[in-house]
């Protein structure tokens, strides 16, 4: 197991947020965590990232207990995490401060290309669209060559067309880089499109209700019977009838 959540519980004051969460994540796996808002899924990710300490249980990565943030595992926010005072280049190279100049330049160029921002090296975030800022953030995370990526509703602020494009971009990058990905979302469709497995959480206090294997090969056909079956299974598990 790359990442192991062992009986993780969390409380903020008197409010129980997470109860006895136990799940392992394989190396190179794409795991989505879905659940109603406020169910503690972001908290779970923050615990794994080392930004919060659980009140009980532990998270281990490569057998080591997580106690603090670490460059080997990078957290990606919605695109608001990019630094407005740095250019695209500056942002992507942000975590590479202890690298020699020349190597850093090459690494930055490599990831600018990977996320398709060629020609925008000197642009500032305010000159970029939401989707482009999100690419900058993903590239900034990948540039330090982490082995785990935590993505906390990364596409939540994007319009639906950009969101679809970003999902296939992310899958392409994930296939190229083979990182372990933990992806939190409240969008069930998104989880079925992306994940190897989907962890479905209950409303607060968050517990794991069910883990669903998404046994559809990429690229996924969003109108296939299996896709719709799995999607409806998760909708049902969260207690939503798939009707408007």
């Amino acid at each position: 197991m790359k990442v192991q959540f062992a009986d993780v519980s969390m409380r903020f004051g008197a409010m129980e947020v997470l109860q006895h969460v136990t799940i392992g994540v394989e190396e190179g796996e794409f795991l989505c965590i879905v659940g109603p808002s406020g169910c503690g899924k972001s908290t779970l990710l923050n615990i794994a990232g080392g930004f919060l300490a659980p009140v009980a249980g532990s998270v281990t990565i490569d057998g080591e207990t997580v106690t603090a943030p670490d460059r080997r595992r990078i957290f990606v926010f919605q695109e608001r995490g990019v630094f407005p005072w740095l250019t695209v280049e500056g942002n992507i190279g942000f975590g590479l401060f202890d690298m020699p100049e020349e190597a850093r330049r090459q690494r930055v160029a490599q990831y600018i290309q990977l996320v398709g921002l060629d020609g925008f090296e000197k642009a500032y975030p305010r000159e970029l669209s939401g989707g482009m800022k999100q690419r900058v953030e993903v590239a900034r995370a990948l540039a330090v060559n982490p082995d785990v990526l935590f993505l906390d509703e990364p596409f939540g602020a994007l319009d639906s067309i950009t969101r679809l494009q970003m999902r296939s971009e992310l899958l392409r990058i994930w296939r190229a880089e083979r990182k372990t990905v933990l992806f939190v979302t409240h969008d069930i469709e998104e989880s079925v499109q992306l994940a190897d497995r989907v962890v479905v959480m209950s409303a607060r206090p968050g517990r794991i209700r069910r883990v669903v294997d998404i046994d559809i090969a990429h690229p996924r056909d969003l109108s296939s019977t299996r896709y719709i079956e799995l999607r409806d299974l998760i909708f049902g598990e969260i207690g939503l009838a798939h009707q408007v």
Binding site: G49, F51, P69, D70, R71, I74, F75, F77, R80, G81, F83, W85, L86, F94, G95, F97, V144
Partner: protein
């Protein structure tokens, strides 16, 4: 972003209009002033021509330039000292919430006290020296700088800090590479406001313990022979120089905003 329509139809911002309009206003005010002095037949209040003559005679004796130089030196000394003291204090208070809780009430209590009220204290502490007015200017600009730096640091989006820590920055590196650039725009605004206050306090500060400067000019001209032409000349110089300095700082602000 300004809309392109404004640009193409009536370009009020970038044409000579920008300079001509205020000149017209000034001319009208000067005319009213001159006529009012004439009509009222006052012997005390000077006409614009008398003030212009007073400025000319001051600059002939090169007294004007020495006074401007002395005033600027005092304001900058007090103001720079306030920056050097205020920004670190503001940073610390913004960073450590308990420290802010401990010190902030004191600062909020000292802030509304006019620098004029500090004059007797300044004289006791610094005697009859240049340090007394510098101290008053320092005090006047210190509090707005502390408050701007503190609020700036407090309002750094937590995501920036989290990202910085995630990439392995130490607290010191975090301060330099994340907090400082994140708060810069807000601090610059605070610095401009503080400078405005420092300049306003100049006259009060130069009422004590010095025998040069634009503030001194006003006080001295009034006390020694009611030379109101010199009083108004001093007022005008303070206004004009204040305007120039404010414009300069705004330029810096815009430049930083762009980069």
């Amino acid at each position: 972003m300004r809309s392109p329509i404004q640009h193409s139809t009536f370009n009020i911002e970038h044409s000579t209009f920008r300079f001509v309009l205020p000149l017209i206003t000034s001319a009208i005010i000067l005319a009213i002033w001159a006529i009012a002095v004439k009509l009222s037949g006052t012997k005390i209040f000077p006409s614009p021509a008398a003030v212009a003559k007073a400025i000319a005679s001051l600059s002939e004796k090169s007294l004007l330039w020495r006074y401007i130089g002395d005033s600027l030196a005092r304001v900058f000394a007090g103001y720079l000292a306030a920056i050097a003291v205020g920004i670190p204090i503001g940073f610390l208070m913004g960073w450590h919430a308990p420290l802010a809780r401990a010190i902030n009430p004191l600062i909020q209590m000292l802030r509304p006290i006019s620098p004029l009220a500090w004059m007797p204290v300044a004289v006791i502490w610094f005697g009859v020296s240049n340090a007394a007015p510098i101290f008053l200017i320092f005090l006047a600009s210190l509090f707005p700088i502390i408050v701007a730096a503190m609020n700036g640091v407090r309002n750094v989006p937590p995501m920036y800090l989290q990202a910085g820590r995630n990439f392995g920055l130490s607290t010191r590196q975090l301060m330099i590479r994340v907090v400082a650039p994140a708060v810069l725009p807000r601090i610059i605004v605070g610095l401009r406001l503080a400078f405005g206050i420092a300049w306003v306090v100049l006259v009060a500060a130069e009422m004590i313990a010095v025998d040069s400067g634009l503030g001194y000019l006003i006080i001295d001209a009034r006390n020694a022979g009611k030379r109101y032409d010199l009083v108004v000349a001093g007022m005008l110089m303070i206004g004009v120089i204040g305007l120039l300095l404010d414009t300069g700082i705004r330029r810096v602000e815009e430049w930083i905003g762009k980069n």
